[in-house]
């Protein structure tokens, strides 16, 4: 090495690559109000669409009269199902193999369902016209309870499915039944459960909620009739999938469709689905020849697009007397609402719920999920989780607590006793997954030590004594969770959505002066891809992250990929980025060797350059190589320095974590105060610690909201009771707890850089931690199970029912 060469560590730091808490490049525009969200877009001649929605949860439509609306100056069109039917667009396929009405066809099946689409030259006129559309309804009996929906005489919701005894996921056994999905060994599980020392049985409900990103869904569809090209800007978490689906259902050739996801104001699963608003805006643009904007309002967002959860999970778990788990059984009644619009990989109608054996070595297990129709909004999206993983984690972490009560054992000790050991990885679970890696005992011990678990238990015992002596009315809850996620969908051999394999992609172009652009098939909604993917690449190709532009979201320029949800971006597109970077480096090696006049094998990679083995003073930096790639004729090599990688992951990744919540509960008002929240995450290799910490804070806050108050609630006739942010709980800075973050690092053995993904872990892990804290506070007084959300009145009810109010 000559004197001019900075030392390795200095050069590595200058790259701002893997492991650097690099400041986000996105923030420069966001902090100045220069983000570019879909509602910021203005196109010449743009029209506005707005929906007439059903006030009823179940009703037949007797007539729709839009004459008065059409007569309002400024109204361009009013679309109904009758207008869409000739185009065969009055129904559309859902991501789950079902079909869904775009506009009400004969009847409505949930409150807020789209009935007519008004198009006007101004959003004020459109809103006025919505009021003028006259719809005559005949009310029908409403079913909001998924158990009652399965009664023999329950009202028939989906008349379009009359006589269909099988659906996309096998046989249907009732007119409101969608599918049954089974995993594991039923007979073997029953055998173990029937002869076990101890069996704990519980119904665990994970209530209906909603991702509720701060930006609602919307789009601007623009049909250019001159060029025959349709461009749609919209809030799409999977722009390429939207392009393909749009092409298949509209008949427009895929090359004539361009989907652009601009900046997205949070997604959390809400923006994965294809919604009637997108279809109507596209049709309206085709009909009028003008751009049409549709932006849903908050009430529409909460009522009509993308609910999450709503799983009734009946569990049985067995163990030996000394606390060794021997078997697990789970039966889920899944309320899917009026249409099955879950956003799950095709072969997984209950997503990856079969991760529900969690972090534990459970020899035998069985799972059955029944999907059911009710008069509620469709959806079933993965609200900041990988396809039903949060339901699974909540289920097993509750069942562990319930078992601990039954055994009279400490719940931390029960977990320790049953964790999959480090030496068991790769681990084959009883419900079909191969866990790639893990070191649960290390993480767990670190967590317990960090919070002084033994000390907390002593404090709790004192508190209980004080409470019983009438010295306090506050109880102390210690909520434990050890979760295992399954993310990074996924291997094309078993993961697809509507037949589209769930690989992802990255295309890199190195510019002659040594900067670069990388384009990916994913799309950030706040995760900071433009920052972190540049870091992955910086470490792979030795160019500073600051000199690498990352671009996503435009299907005309980005390589095909399945988008961002289910924490799949880092495991899949992040891997593609590393692999594409390695292709660049491979070519760069040949160029360097040529320039250095040595054999390819005689140079080696050194942070940002190739050096001649044994002669480090002879080197070519990546920057020099880039220039040569474009400007020097190199025998046997094409000019240029570009690469593309389509990455089909060999397996999922399995991030895990240990979360502990310490909560004070006021027995009299049901109020709570989170005193401490400790979150240890193991997401494998850490790309940007600052961003990881931010993801954990945000995900845990969503989990806090879900566990402690957030729900989509219906009354018995299907009215949504939680349609505004007054009633739908989004905590403010005042209520939100303070978090302490921590980590261990267990790299994924199959991911090119060992990363596993982290965005969703904190939602998956925090919900059971908060909920377990509530339960734990009352354990000494006889509580086994109560349902979320643990808002004031429900906690009060628990205390009341336990006789704690005297």
């Amino acid at each position: 090495m000559n004197d001019m060469t900075p030392p390795k560590d200095e050069r590595a730091v200058a790259l701002k690559g893997l492991g650097a808490s690099r400041k986000r490049v996105e923030d420069v525009r966001f902090t100045q109000g220069k983000g570019n969200y879909v509602d910021d877009l203005k196109l010449p001649g743009m029209l506005f669409g707005d929906f007439v929605r059903s006030p009823y949860a179940h009703a037949r439509i007797k007539s729709i009269n839009s004459e008065k609306a059409k007569a309002l100056p400024g109204v361009v069109a009013v679309l109904t199902a009758a207008d869409l039917a000739p185009l065969n667009l009055h129904w559309m396929p859902t991501l789950a193999g079902d079909v869904q009405m775009v506009l009400a066809d004969g009847k409505v099946l949930f409150q807020g369902q789209e009935v007519a689409f008004v198009v006007a030259n101004d959003r004020y006129v459109a809103a006025d016209a919505v009021e003028l559309v006259e719809v005559e309804y005949e009310e029908l009996p409403v079913v909001v309870d998924p158990f009652k929906a399965q009664a023999p005489d329950a009202p028939v919701l989906r008349e379009d499915l009359a006589g269909k005894t099988s659906g996309a996921h096998g046989p249907r056994r009732h007119h409101n039944h969608i599918f049954t999905w089974e995993q594991g060994d039923r007979d073997a599980t029953e055998k173990v459960l029937s002869s076990a020392d101890v069996v704990a049985e519980e119904m665990v409900y994970y209530h209906r909620t909603h991702p509720c990103p701060l930006e609602t869904c919307g789009c601007v569809a623009s049909m250019d009739k001159v060029n025959g090209k349709l461009t749609v800007h919209g809030t799409f978490q999977a722009p390429h999938a939207v392009r393909t689906v749009a092409s298949l259902i509209s008949g427009i050739a895929e090359h004539n469709i361009r989907i652009i996801s601009p900046d997205i104001g949070g997604g959390f699963g809400n923006k994965v689905g294809v919604y009637p608003g997108y279809i109507c805006a596209i049709v309206a643009s085709i009909v009028t020849g003008k751009p049409v904007k549709w932006i849903e309002d908050r009430m529409e967002n909460l009522m009509a697009t993308a609910f999450a959860r709503d799983y009734w999970m009946k569990g049985r778990i067995s163990a030996t007397k000394d606390g060794r788990i021997t078997g697990l059984s789970c039966h889920v009644t899944a309320d899917h609402g009026a249409f099955d619009a879950c956003a799950d990989p095709t072969k997984f109608p209950a997503g990856f719920f079969n991760i529900c054996t969690g972090s534990y070595d459970i020899p035998v297990a069985h799972l059955a999920v029944d999907g059911v129709y009710t008069n509620k909004a469709p959806g079933g999206v993965a609200y900041r989780c990988s396809f039903r993983v949060t339901e699974a984690a909540y289920f097993i972490e509750r069942m562990i607590e319930v078992l601990a009560i039954k055994l009279g054992m400490d719940a931390a000790e029960l977990r320790t006793k049953n964790f999959i050991r480090k030496d068991q990885f790769p681990y084959q679970s009883a419900l079909g997954w191969e866990y790639d890696s893990g070191d649960y005992h290390t993480a767990w011990d670190k967590a317990l030590k960090a919070v002084d678990y033994a000390g907390l238990r002593r404090e709790q015992a004192d508190r209980i004594a004080d409470f019983k002596a009438g010295k306090t009315r506050k109880l102390l809850g210690i909520g434990l969770t050890h979760f295992t996620e399954i993310v990074g969908a996924g291997p094309v051999k078993n993961c697809d959505i509507l037949g589209l394999g769930m690989f992802d992609s990255c295309e890199i172009r190195i510019h002659p002066t040594g900067s670069a652009i990388a384009r990916l098939g994913t799309i950030s909604q706040g995760q900071g891809h433009a920052t972190t993917f540049a870091q992955i690449l910086a470490s792979e190709i030795g160019l500073p992250a600051d000199d690498i532009t990352v671009e996503e979201g435009d299907t005309d320029t980005a390589p095909y990929g399945l988008g961002t949800y289910g924490s799949r971006s880092t495991p899949v597109a992040g891997a593609a980025t590393a692999m594409a970077g390695r292709k660049i480096r491979a070519k760069a090696q040949m160029i360097a060797a040529y320039l250095l006049e040595v054999h390819d094998d005689d140079v080696e990679w050194d942070i940002d350059r190739f050096v001649v083995k044994g002669a480090p003073e002879r080197f070519k930096t990546m920057k020099e190589i880039a220039f040569a790639a474009y400007n020097q004729a190199i025998p046997g090599l094409e000019p240029g320095l570009e690469a593309v990688s389509y990455y089909d992951p060999p397996n999922m990744t399995y991030p895990f974590g240990a979360y502990i919540c310490v909560m004070e509960i006021d027995v009299d008002t049901g109020e709570h105060k989170v005193r401490q929240f400790y979150a240890l995450d193991d997401c494998g290799t850490r790309i940007n610690p600052m961003i990881i910490e931010g993801q954990v804070h945000g995900g845990a806050t969503e989990g806090y909201a879900i566990a402690m108050g957030q729900e989509i609630a219906y009354d018995e006739i299907g009215n949504v009771k939680t349609g505004t942010l007054m009633d739908f709980f989004l905590p403010t800075a005042w209520e939100t707890p303070h978090y302490t973050t921590d980590f261990t690092v267990t790299p994924s053995p199959h991911h090119p850089i060992g990363a596993k993904g982290v965005g969703e872990s904190p939602n998956v892990g925090s919900v059971p931690a908060f909920s377990n804290a509530v339960h734990d506070a009352f354990r000494a007084f006889g509580l086994t199970q109560s349902h979320m959300p643990h808002d004031h009145w429900r906690i009060w009810k628990v205390a009341h029912d336990l006789g704690l109010h005297g």
Partner: protein, 284 residues
């Protein structure tokens, strides 16, 4: 969410505003800060042709303290109430209650007059005003008149204010004794699950007078004379407090909603009242 069309008026005197109200009758509404009315307009849950904005009427603004008498103009914002030094000494319960209304942005716009006049049982100031035995000053085509806060509320959104009247100010005497407003709510920005306004006067360890009013536990605020009477003349023993709580419980009529079933609200009402009594007594 877009409001339906209307004509806008910004009168600069009470007389001009009253004139507009009587000209347009039922087809007119007055707006102060607008943070209750405008969301209702956007949800199209209200329908009228004329909106009369009171912001330009200087006579409706300001806080005056004349000896023991406090007069607050209807257009005084919650933010101004929170930061008024004189009020902090003379009637600290106002800032305590105002600080628990909605959120900072809403408190910059939201006014005392708007909060007490629209008759929403979720609003906090009506209970406080009843607790303080405040007087509401109304101005209509026939001139001005006064109505006691305790006589003002008839049912949810129905008050003693005639449609062509404007509430111009509230006035009350500096409360004698300790005061407290204790509110249980689900989060910042929420209405009360239950809230209690309490004033307790003490002399030599004994309670000489007490006033108690409850928020969002019936279709109007509930001033409970019997509850106050249960404390007066006592040493605020547990038995006296329970008698007051019992009287309050008989006076309220909570309804089940997203904040919980009526039974829970009764329990919460009792808890916030006990806490408010304790706080007021400690400050007396």
């Amino acid at each position: 969410m877009i409001p339906a069309p209307f004509e806008y008026h910004r009168p600069d005197s009470v007389e001009a505003a009253v004139k507009l109200l009587s000209d347009f009758g039922e087809d007119a509404r007055v707006v102060a800060g607008g943070h209750s009315l405008i969301p209702m307009m956007k949800l199209r849950m209200t329908d009228f042709g004329h909106l009369i904005d009171l912001q330009a009427i200087d006579a409706l603004k300001g806080i005056r303290i004349d000896g023991r008498r406090i007069t607050i103009g209807a257009m005084t914002t919650q933010h101004e109430i929170i930061h008024h030094a004189g009020l902090a000494t003379a009637a600290p319960i106002l800032a305590e209650a105002a600080g628990q209304i909605a959120d900072p942005q809403v408190r910059y716009m939201g006014t005392l007059g708007g909060n007490v006049a629209n008759g929403d049982p979720g609003n906090d100031m009506p209970g406080v005003m009843q607790c303080l035995d405040a007087t509401f000053h109304l101005n209509g085509p026939g001139g001005s008149r006064v109505v006691k806060a305790r006589d003002f509320y008839e049912a949810a959104y129905f008050t003693a204010r005639a449609e062509d009247e404007i509430l111009t100010a509230v006035s009350f005497d500096t409360p004698a004794g300790g005061q407290a407003y204790v509110k249980q709510k689900r989060k910042i920005g929420d209405y009360a699950t239950a809230a209690a306004a309490v004033v307790i006067a003490r002399s030599g360890g004994r309670c000489t007078a007490a006033s108690i009013a409850m928020t969002n536990l019936a279709d109007t605020p509930v001033w409970c004379e019997e509850a106050g009477a249960a404390l007066a003349g006592t040493d605020l023993s547990a038995a006296a407090i329970e008698a007051a709580v019992g009287a309050m419980d008989r006076a309220i009529d909570p309804q089940s909603d997203n904040r919980g079933p009526a039974e829970f609200k009764r329990h919460a009402a009792a808890v916030v009242l006990r806490r408010a009594i304790a706080a007021a007594a400690a400050r007396a």
